[in-house]
């Protein structure tokens, strides 16, 4: 443990990793709550994997893959939003198609790109230790956008997630709000790809929020707790991966998984305890 903190003071890349952890936990805590309560994990997974297509094309064109990722993320959010609202009976199939075709496009364009071979692995599995200062700046602005939009539309998102039909009756632009929400999730996915990679994005999007949901009664409290838990999972994962020389993304996801299991157990014990108390008082 001491070894890690010694290195932290010494190495710039570790400090950047911690900053990336803070920025991504904010994003995944806030939008992850919507993924969990609206039960759109599969859609989020579809967006995450489709992004590889954009990354591949950006590489081929000689552009920054991060921007390719942002553009594809927003495009697929828009597409899936329209499909959910117009052709819901085929939604599953279409998400699956987008998921796989996006990846296929990415792999083909990466192979076609002349010159040095692209590090496909770092997109699939992430590497929080390779986050540079310019990337941090992009992550920061994405975070800012996400937090701003959620602050302004908190009540509208709550109603759309809770009771879509009632939202429509209140005259809210349900379609636009839903697509906006998916766009925020897409941006979060872009941020998280840097940390855990697109294959494991779903873990950070859902597990902190799911744990928070076990202990809170309000969406905003759930967001705060989920952000804190996300940061905890990332930091603990980072320390373990550093000490044990394991890949950071996978270690973070394993820690998050244990966190979720532990929380389920804790809640079970807590429920049993209050029940016993009630029985005694009866």
């Amino acid at each position: 443990m001491g070894e890690f903190f010694g290195a932290l003071l010494q190495y710039n890349f570790l400090q950047n990793a911690i900053l990336a952890g803070v920025l991504s936990s904010l994003a995944c805590g806030v939008t992850g709550v919507y993924v969990v309560v609206k039960r759109i994990t599969f859609i989020s997974g579809g967006i995450a994997h489709a992004i590889l297509g954009g990354i591949g094309v950006a590489y081929y064109l000689g552009k920054d893959p991060l921007y390719g990722a942002v553009v594809t993320a927003l495009l697929s959010a828009f597409l899936l939003g329209m499909i959910n609202l117009t052709a819901r009976q085929h939604e599953d199939t279409i998400i699956g198609a987008l998921w796989a075709v996006g990846m296929a496009v990415g792999i083909i364009f990466m192979t076609l790109t002349p010159g040095y071979s692209v590090d496909l692995m770092s997109f699939l599995f992430g590497n929080i230790l390779m986050v540079t200062t310019p990337v941090l700046r992009v992550l920061f602005s994405l975070d800012l956008v996400i937090l701003l939009v959620v602050t302004v539309f908190y009540r509208q998102f709550l109603l759309v997630c809770y009771d879509e039909e009632y939202a429509r009756l209140r005259g809210l632009p349900v379609k636009a709000l839903y697509i906006l929400l998916l766009a925020l999730i897409a941006l979060t996915v872009v941020i998280l790809i840097k940390v855990v990679g697109l294959i494991m994005v779903i873990a950070l999007l859902t597990l902190p929020a799911a744990v928070a949901g076990l202990f809170t009664h309000q969406l905003r409290h759930m967001m705060i707790l989920a952000s804190g838990l996300g940061l905890l999972f990332i930091l603990v994962g980072l320390v373990f991966s550093y000490q044990l020389n394991l890949p950071s993304g996978a270690t973070i996801v394993i820690i998050a998984g244990f966190g979720y299991l532990g929380a389920l157990g804790l809640r079970k014990i807590a429920l049993g305890f209050t029940r016993r108390k009630q029985d005694e008082s009866c």
Binding site: Y162, D163, G213
Partner: protein
């Protein structure tokens, strides 16, 4: 007396099969109408038409002499309880506040007036103490009252309820009908129910809706070949 609802020869078909066929109906200000009928009889379809979520295949619907879509701000709607996600992290107060949200609510917080209106509506339906309780932890009757408060908080002139007593026990059912009878002093009420028991014996105006032609009016008379719509008057509710 002004009409709240007027349906003229309204039909609705999914694909080619008619769910509703030639419905005529008027509801006057202050009435309390219960629409009963079997599942699949078209009750939910009729509600969706009244709310402007569906458009009739033939015929015309006017609510406060407006097309349903434009009349929505005068309508308070109470959905069937099962349609609302049970395990959602939201408090009873937050659910009621949803009734204050309008398309132009851009300021990111509710105002003091919204909180006052929500508290008043919750008080009026008897859940004033439960504001901070998680909605999913409420009992069936409390949930129904909270959803009624959400509908009332927008100060509607017409209250529409979908199966308000579908998932509560008989005692609570009676409480809810008594609450509705009391609310009926200020607001016109239309509800649908598949349950013939309480509604047919206690409400003043009951309509039977079924695309088939066999209707069983209260009192045990079994009649055939009665039109899709059948209205009967008895002693409960304000009526006109």
């Amino acid at each position: 007396m002004a009409n709240v609802i007027k349906l003229s020869k309204v039909s609705f078909a999914y694909e080619r099969s008619y769910i509703l066929d030639g419905i005529d109906l008027t509801v006057a200000v202050g009435e309390f109408l219960a629409i009963v009928g079997p599942n699949g009889g078209g009750k939910t379809t009729l509600l969706k038409l009244l709310l402007g979520l569906l458009e009739p295949t033939h015929g015309e619907i006017r609510i406060f002499n407006l097309p349903p879509r434009k009349a929505r701000r005068f309508i308070g709607y109470v959905p069937q309880q099962g349609t609302v996600d049970r395990d959602f992290p939201v408090s009873a107060l937050e659910v009621v506040l949803m009734g204050r949200l309008a398309p132009n609510s851009f300021f990111p917080r509710y105002q003091r007036a919204d909180y006052q209106a929500a508290a008043a509506a919750m008080q009026a339906v008897g859940v004033g103490e439960l504001a901070d309780v998680r909605f999913s932890d409420l009992s069936g009757g409390q949930k129904q009252r909270t959803l009624i408060a959400r509908a009332l908080v927008g100060k509607p002139q017409l209250l529409i309820l979908d199966e308000p007593t579908a998932s509560v026990d008989p005692q609570v059912e009676q409480d809810i009908y008594e609450l509705l009878a009391q609310l009926n002093k200020d607001v016109t009420i239309v509800l649908v129910s598949h349950d013939l028991g309480y509604v047919t014996t206690h409400l003043r105006k009951v309509a039977y809706l079924n695309r088939n032609l066999v209707v069983y009016p209260p009192g045990g008379n079994v009649s055939g070949n009665i039109p899709h719509w059948y209205t009967v008057n008895n002693g409960f509710g304000r009526g006109v």
